[in-house]
Subunit: 464 residues, 2 copies
């Protein structure tokens, strides 16, 4: 059986074996903190053995619920934000056809991850008249975005199904005993799944948070958990970095950070991996972006974005490293045909597959970016399958835990996420935020600088 | 009539009025280069007066073709990469409902912007049996990605419509006289539109490249051109920065770059603006990312990404500035209802609109990021309408031209985009690349460093 590989040839022009040897000490300390649960934030290490901790009964419960939803719904809406939707969306988009809502039943939508009225209005018109089941995913049940969307969608559902039956079309993934959503579920007999206390949002894809929506999409979650369980052996249990591509990835990105690199771009050549990158951005950005530290995680879909961001990557500020997410066998072949006139000069590719051409694009890009002084690594997964996506989830989870400790931060908290919320609650006049409300209003009423476009006569400048 | 506004209050804690005064000299020089067409790359300044140069006849031709396509097609496929699709996609997604392919006719797909076989295969199954019209957009007709997709989709169409009728279902946007696509169009009587010689891809949204697909989506392109034409007066013709938010934006981002900032994030609070950011990333990344210079353009959709990238923005490396793209009136209201039990504690918002809550989220975020030492500006458009999207296109086009010259680069070339192509052609054995082919194969066969995951026995390390 093939395994995830890390190719770091294109890093070794920028660092030395000694750098790696040096960094290994930090790695061993960081690894110890994770394995022995002795580091900061170790109350949130539940993800470490999730793939083994989940029971057959729990998996069966998820599968049965998913089967019922698939049978009984035209539309499934996953209501959650951040870690409560990104993992599920990443797996679903990677493992379903492109444009899946044009061909799959049930259609799958994500809501409660913004406060846009247009988005909700358009969602309403798309689901109108259809049989809808929703999965509300929230530990507390009071997070503004999902709670607001849940209120609205419930209202529409009550109009369609009546006050009583609506609760049969809701599944809640929430705390085991406390919080608003738990209380509602208990009072109304809503089917629930539990978010473990010791797993943070961005590490929750292999709990019911991710597994239920993924199963609703018809994806084999047992295989996914199998891939993650093998990841425990391959990444958690393997101390030797020469045998551990996940730990080596953590080490190399830290060395490059120490050498002044400030941006890491995750680049794929299959557009279905787009949301794997979005999930990765949260995982790394939220785990490491603190104490004024941490690589800025960004992503590209190639070759698409080679025609937009390619110029900057090739020749812009040299503060970037790149990690390619490569797929050995994307399991689809389209053969390029011969064309009589050959006006487009593509007959030299006749008989070749798109996959082959795409692979040469990848190899060519990787070499070009190295020549452009962008140190880069390649993580290769054998195929885009449930097993390897599960394995990849664990690969990155292990890597970020080690990497965060090596960086000297607590990889398991996210204090900065509260800042906008506090301001927002103060501005909205939420009960309990009266003092902050006065403060922020005063602050925002201060001197303002703005310019308005327009014919000279109309322009405004300055305090206003 | 309202106009685009720039609020830079949250920059003034990080720079001084003197900095602006200082930078003004550079601005005036840069502006002169653009207006007098005296700078590097001035052969590509055709975008400057596009909104005025386009004739009524040309607009009518686009509108009539679009009307015919709308009437006669279930599916419209725009085949192009980079600037040949991003502008159109940006306008279409901003100005159409979310999930537009679930409700609009014709459905609109974008292809030829990657080499993914899965994408093409899935596209084929979605369009199967439907009446399809394609718009192939390529100056040369030989760019690998769109040319390959064009070959494949044409093959499918020939199967469905026969060799003769297929050309009636193709519109080509290409060079006026030369190139593979022009030749094919002339030989087969394909309807064509012309890409002007003096307009680069990333500046081409207001040529038929962008206007035809946008018109096919039923969007009022006259209004869009009107907004852009007013932009000529507001941004190009207005030297005084106190009356010119576009020029002021260019100045401020250059000052912040000079002070060591390296990343600019464009953040919106309406998910429909996602592709405006993608278009912006090409415009700024490709124009400025050269000679080892240029802010790294990245983007977020809020509040969504506050729950993924929010932590990094708030507390990570302080090398980032943020530009908010704000919408004064998103023209949709959903009012939050009162709920008897109020388990989610949201009744304090009852009677308020989603728009109001979203706006407080914006104001709260902007203040939080300023407090987190992220200098930020806000570009406010009065509404998401064809007029203001056209106005905004010109706003950014003017800004990047001035900004690029201020940075000391040629904002109108993109030499770095060729690097991956050359390698790819060499690896693919394209005729004419024989020598490069030998070179790169030799290079790639050198020492390799890779690690394979797996049980210890299976792991491989080192040269291979």
């Amino acid at each position: 059986m093939k395994n995830i590989k890390l190719d770091y040839s294109n890093v070794m022009d920028f660092i030395t074996e000694e750098d790696i040897e040096q960094e290994k000490k930090k790695y061993l300390e960081a690894r110890k903190k994770v394995v022995e649960k002795s580091g900061e934030g170790s109350d949130y290490l539940g993800w470490l053995d999730l793939p083994k901790r989940i029971t057959d009964d729990e998996i069966d419960d998820i599968l049965e619920t998913a089967a019922h939803i698939r049978e009984d719904s035209d539309v499934f809406i996953s209501v959650g934000i951040g870690g409560s939707y990104l993992g599920a969306r990443a797996a679903i988009e990677a493992l379903s056809p492109n444009f899946y809502n044009m061909s799959m039943k049930p259609q799958i939508y994500f809501a409660g991850n913004s406060i846009s009225p247009r988005y909700l209005k358009d969602l309403k018109s798309v689901i109108d008249g259809k049989k809808v089941t929703i999965n509300i995913i929230s530990k507390s049940g009071t997070t503004t975005e999902p709670a607001l969307a849940f209120r609205m969608i419930r209202e529409w559902m009550i109009e369609n199904y009546g006050q009583k039956d609506v609760f049969k079309r809701i599944v809640a993934t929430t705390d085991s005993s406390k919080g608003a959503l738990r209380q509602l579920a208990d009072e109304e007999g809503i089917k629930t799944f539990v978010i473990p206390d010791d797993v943070g949002g961005r590490f929750s894809v292999l709990t019911p948070v991710g597994l239920l929506p993924i199963a609703v999409a018809g994806i084999d979650i047992r295989k996914m958990l199998e891939g993650a369980a093998d990841g425990m052996k391959e990444f958690r249990d393997e101390e030797d970095i020469a045998k551990n591509p996940s730990s080596m990835y953590a080490i190399l990105r830290n060395i490059l950070y120490e050498k002044g690199k400030r941006i890491e771009m995750l680049s794929n050549f299959e557009p279905q991996l787009h949301y794997i990158s979005e999930w990765w951005k949260q995982l790394f950005g939220e785990s490491e972006g603190k104490d004024n530290k941490g690589l800025h995680p960004t992503s590209c879909d190639f070759t698409t974005d080679l025609h937009s961001m390619g110029q900057w990557i090739q020749d812009g500020c040299r503060n970037i490293i790149e990690t390619f997410l490569n797929v050995e066998d994307p399991e689809s072949t389209i053969v390029i045909g011969m064309e009589k006139r050959n006006l487009d000069h593509l007959n030299y590719l006749a008989g070749k597959t798109f996959r082959y051409v795409n692979e040469q694009a990848f190899l060519g890009t990787r070499a070009a970016h190295r020549d452009g002084e962008v140190p880069n690594m390649t993580i290769t997964i054998p195929s885009i399958s449930p097993y390897y996506i599960g394995n990849l989830f664990y690969f990155f989870e292990w890597a970020v835990a080690v990497s965060g400790y090596m960086l000297g931060v607590n990889p398991f908290n996210q204090p900065g996420v509260e800042s906008y919320k506090k301001n927002m609650f103060a501005l909205l006049g939420k009960p309990g935020f009266e003092e902050q409300s006065r403060e922020i209003r005063e602050k925002l009423s201060g001197q303002k600088k703005f310019i308005s476009a327009g014919s000279p006569g109309k322009a405004e400048v300055g305090a206003g």
